[in-house]
């Protein structure tokens, strides 16, 4: 699983060679360590005049203790900082020294009402974008385009192009993401802002996140262990990404019920024993399994708060050579079983208030992939699953979202032919593969009680892969 190229380019000689030859130079991404601050370095907060999120952002920055600077203008930004109790210092790019750099640039673009005002975004980023530190963050918060008048709709939509391009321009492990926040959902941005600011979002870049849900965010969240006292079920938990998901959810405080096929029972039990969870060995495609899972959750735990449909398989063949068995196996595990399980859980009232359903899609589901018609169909179906259920779950005070991993370093990718593997690793803005924990951290963000307005999203964990972009 080791990325020898990355190790090589990070030697003194390797750095010289990659620079001279113009090869990609992946840096070692910073990743979250329990107990570490949300963001380790100064934050620059800017805003277009007339924005509505500065106050909410300032409150989050104050809550996480971020050392923050803002420009003197617009005045409302300084007022928002003052109101939030954020002792923000002043940043003036014209008077700043070269060594004034930032761990994150956060820009409230909600005030941009037409395409001419997009210049406000340029004016903020032009003198600051080269001040972004290693593994830094660029976060643009905007208004959902479709909620605005045509001129605002156009301008807010345009921010996607800006943010995605910034993601490709910033180097050294930095990321850029866009967050559309519905009017009225300002108070719901904290979990998302915490996730994007922190090293938890190490491999998430070039993404568009929508905070459009109506469900209120509960008060008094313990951000160190937001899942304290909650129960999470993770399918396919015995290894790889599923194992990492189980570990991270347990780290966040959840009791994790790991589910996997009976053949994997010893590995599954090893995982759940390590994290203080419990194991349930069954084949999720078995017709009796959905009810068995519901029974187990209701009997042992009184219900479930977080459902993670991670189990997935591949049976690659080009379509002409693919037999029905391969087709059915993949569709059953990846797409049909999650729907059956959900039906049973919701039908039995097993999903508690502020519940979470989180599915795992894939870049193949977005871009398609030769030899993976079955897999890509199932993973595109997962996107449909999110779209279809989001409004319904919102009514029940729950959310459904998906992650779409790109090239993640697992035993599966380690078995790839070297050319395919190298292409997969490098063809993204961070020039490296992600780790299972990057997917797990993203799922933990969806899972948290603070993410009650984060609904209907498919967020790629792909380092801004060129594939399907």
């Amino acid at each position: 699983m080791s990325d020898r190229y990355q190790q090589l380019v990070n030697t003194p000689l390797g750095r010289i060679v990659t620079k001279q030859v113009g090869l990609p130079a992946p840096v070692k991404l910073e990743r979250y360590e329990p107990g570490a601050p949300v963001i380790d370095g100064p934050v620059l907060l800017g805003a277009a005049p007339g924005g509505r999120l500065a106050g909410a952002i300032a409150r989050v920055l104050a809550a996480v203790g971020a050392e923050t600077s803002t420009p003197m203008e617009p005045k409302a930004l300084r007022t928002a900082a003052a109101d939030a109790g954020l002792e923000a210092s002043v940043f003036n790019p014209e008077a700043a020294a070269e060594e004034d750099t930032f761990k994150a640039l956060v820009f409230d673009a909600t005030g941009i009402a037409d395409s001419e005002q997009l210049r406000e975004a340029w004016a903020f980023f032009h003198p600051t974008i080269r001040r972004v530190r290693r593994s830094g963050r660029v976060i643009v918060l905007a208004a959902p385009p479709q909620d605005g008048e045509p001129a605002a709709h156009i301008a807010q939509r345009a921010l996607e192009g800006l943010t995605r391009s910034i993601g490709k321009e910033v180097r050294r492990g930095a990321t850029a993401n866009l967050v559309y926040v519905r009017a009225g959902a300002e108070a719901a941005i904290e979990s998302t802002l915490r996730f994007l600011l922190s090293p938890r979002s190490a491999y998430v870049s070039g993404q568009v996140i929508r905070i459009t849900g109506e469900a209120p965010v509960p008060e008094g969240i313990d951000w160190e262990r937001p899942l304290n006292g909650l129960v999470a079920m993770v399918t396919g938990a015995s290894r790889g990404i599923g194992e990492s998901i189980a570990e991270v959810l347990a780290r966040e405080g959840a009791h994790v019920l790991g589910v996997d096929v009976p053949a994997m029972e010893p590995e599954l039990e090893a995982v759940t024993a390590r994290i203080g969870g419990s194991a349930l060995a069954l084949d999720i495609t078995d017709p009796s399994s959905p009810e068995a899972i519901a029974d187990h959750l209701l009997e042992r735990h009184g219900g479930v708060d977080v459902v993670v449909h991670n189990a997935g398989i591949t049976r690659d063949k080009t379509l002409g050579r693919m037999d029905q068995e391969r087709w059915d196996a993949v569709l059953n595990v990846n797409l049909i079983a999650p729907q059956r399980i959900d039906r049973a859980l919701f039908g039995r009232g097993a999903v508690r208030q502020n519940g979470r359903v989180i599915a795992v899609s894939s870049i193949s589901g977005i871009a398609g992939n030769a030899g993976q018609t079955n897999y890509a169909t199932s993973k595109a179906g997962v996107i449909g699953f999110v779209e279809a259920w989001a409004p319904e779950l919102a009514k029940r005070g729950a959310t459904v979202n998906a992650v779409a991993p790109g090239f993640i370093e697992t035993r599966m990718t380690a078995a790839m032919p070297i050319a395919t593997r190298e292409a997969g690793r490098r063809m993204n803005s961070l020039s490296q593969g992600g780790l299972p924990i990057d997917v797990a951290e993203t799922i933990a963000w969806f899972a948290g009680p603070g993410s009650s307005a984060v609904n209907g999203n498919v967020v790629r964990v792909c380092g801004q892969s060129l594939i399907g972009a």
């Binding site: 007022t79 003052a82 109101d83 109790g85 002792e87 002043v90 003036n92 020294a97 070269e98």
Partner: protein, 427 residues
């Protein structure tokens, strides 16, 4: 006996032109300059042989022999030798603090008239002997026998010849005032251009004040100098832009052009009760209404060294019920252009006003046309103790000419001090 505070009248003030360090006043002592200034005030207000309530003045850089500087100046002046006097020392706030102290005595009826002033020379600076050498000499003095004295004196080393020269540095941080201000400029994002603009405006406005004759009765020629030596009427943004930074490192924004130079000079102001002025037929130029000092912790809390006036004025406004916009003149001592700009930004900043001043709303912006309308320290120079008197006298005349209105005085000082005051026109 008066038991209610009286209004304090500012009758007028005078100063000698300010000279640059080692310029025309290189051989003039503090006593020379302050005595000459007192005598100029005596001439103007016909105070020959008068016994005044008191004279309070001071200098920042003082020789140890000048322990009674102001009293000695009075004795050397044309005032009656029976006029009491004392020294005041509050860094760059000295001159204004002397005004506050004497004004308060007048208000309380303890005296009827007083002169407040200040002086400084950076040319005739007090150079002290090396501290190690001083200790050796004191030890020798304490010794009871010749042998003991010899033993002590044997400790003298050649390096102890190096004298102690006063430095413009903060004792507790070791940083010069310029370096402290460079930190403030960085903290407040003050650019080079706005500093140079303020400096150019200071020269331009001071030159205009001379040309218009505004300073004719405020400045008395001394030792052949008729105008402030530092004044460059042809100062321009282009010229200022060429100067190299002197504080804040190579990327710094502070230059010799937008910082005040070390200078020599003196000033004095005549204050009195209204009755005293009326008895002598002297018109009241303005009233010295109130004053406020403040200090910041630049050592541990790392507040900007020269930010104290921002605090003092906020408190004074709260006490008087005035808003920052209720003034017709703002006289902010231009120690450095950056100091003025930091102060103005701080008053406009919701974060500073909330977190540091405890105000719900920022104090707001001032009309920049009302700021230092006849120039400031960047143009005139800044002999530390003399700046307060220069400002009080100039503002009194401006208020007198206008016939109504109110003026605000703000002076920053070493040690994280701020000295501020409000004056009003006599109607």
């Amino acid at each position: 006996m008066t038991d209610t505070p009286r209004r304090v009248a500012v009758l007028g003030g005078i100063r000698i032109p300010f000279a640059r360090q080692d310029g025309p006043y290189a051989r003039a002592s503090n006593q020379d300059m302050l005595t000459a200034t007192l005598d100029a005030l005596v001439e103007r207000f016909e105070l020959h042989g008068e016994t005044l309530g008191e004279v309070a003045a001071g200098a920042v850089l003082k020789h140890s022999r000048d322990f009674n500087l102001t009293r000695e100046c009075v004795l050397g002046s044309k005032l009656a030798p029976e006029t009491p006097a004392y020294d005041v020392q509050q860094a760059c706030g000295t001159g204004l603090e002397a005004t506050i102290l004497t004004a308060n005595k007048i208000a309380l009826g303890q005296v009827d008239c007083a002169i407040a002033g200040g002086v400084d020379t950076t040319s005739d600076a007090p150079i002290a002997i090396n501290e190690d050498l001083r200790e050796v000499l004191l030890e020798a003095k304490r010794a009871k026998s010749n042998a003991g004295r010899l033993k002590a004196l044997a400790k003298i080393r050649p390096q102890q010849i190096v004298p102690e020269i006063p430095r413009n540095a903060e004792p507790r941080t070791g940083l010069s005032m310029g370096e402290h201000t460079a930190r403030m400029a960085k903290e407040w994002g003050i650019g080079r251009r706005e500093q140079d603009e303020l400096a150019a405006a200071s020269h331009r406005k001071l030159a205009a004040a001379y040309d218009e004759g505004f300073l004719d009765d405020l400045v008395m020629p001394f030792l052949g100098l008729e105008r402030d030596q530092n004044l460059r009427p042809d100062s321009s943004l282009e010229k200022l832009a060429k100067l190299k930074p002197v504080f804040g490192g190579p990327e710094g924004t502070m230059t010799a052009g937008n910082s005040t130079p070390l200078s020599d000079g003196a000033s004095a102001v005549l204050l009195a009760s209204e009755e005293w002025a009326a008895q002598r037929g002297l018109p009241v130029q303005a009233y010295f209404v109130t004053a406020q000092t403040a200090a910041v912790d630049h050592v541990h809390k790392r507040e900007g060294l020269l930010m104290a006036p921002a605090y003092a004025i906020a408190r004074m406004l709260a006490r008087t019920g005035l808003s920052l916009q209720d003034f017709d003149f703002y006289e902010i001592h231009e120690a450095f252009a950056a100091q003025v700009l930091c102060t103005l930004k701080a008053w406009e900043d919701p974060v500073f006003c909330r977190e540091r001043l405890g105000l719900d709303e920022p104090l707001g912006a001032i009309d920049r046309d009302k700021l230092n309308v006849h120039g400031g320290s960047l143009g005139a120079g800044h002999p530390f103790g003399a700046t307060g008197g220069r400002i009080v006298a100039g503002l009194a005349k401006m208020l007198h000419q206008r016939g109504q209105g109110r003026g605000l005085v703000s002076i920053c000082a070493a040690g994280g001090l701020g000295v501020t005051a409000i004056m009003e026109a006599a109607q």
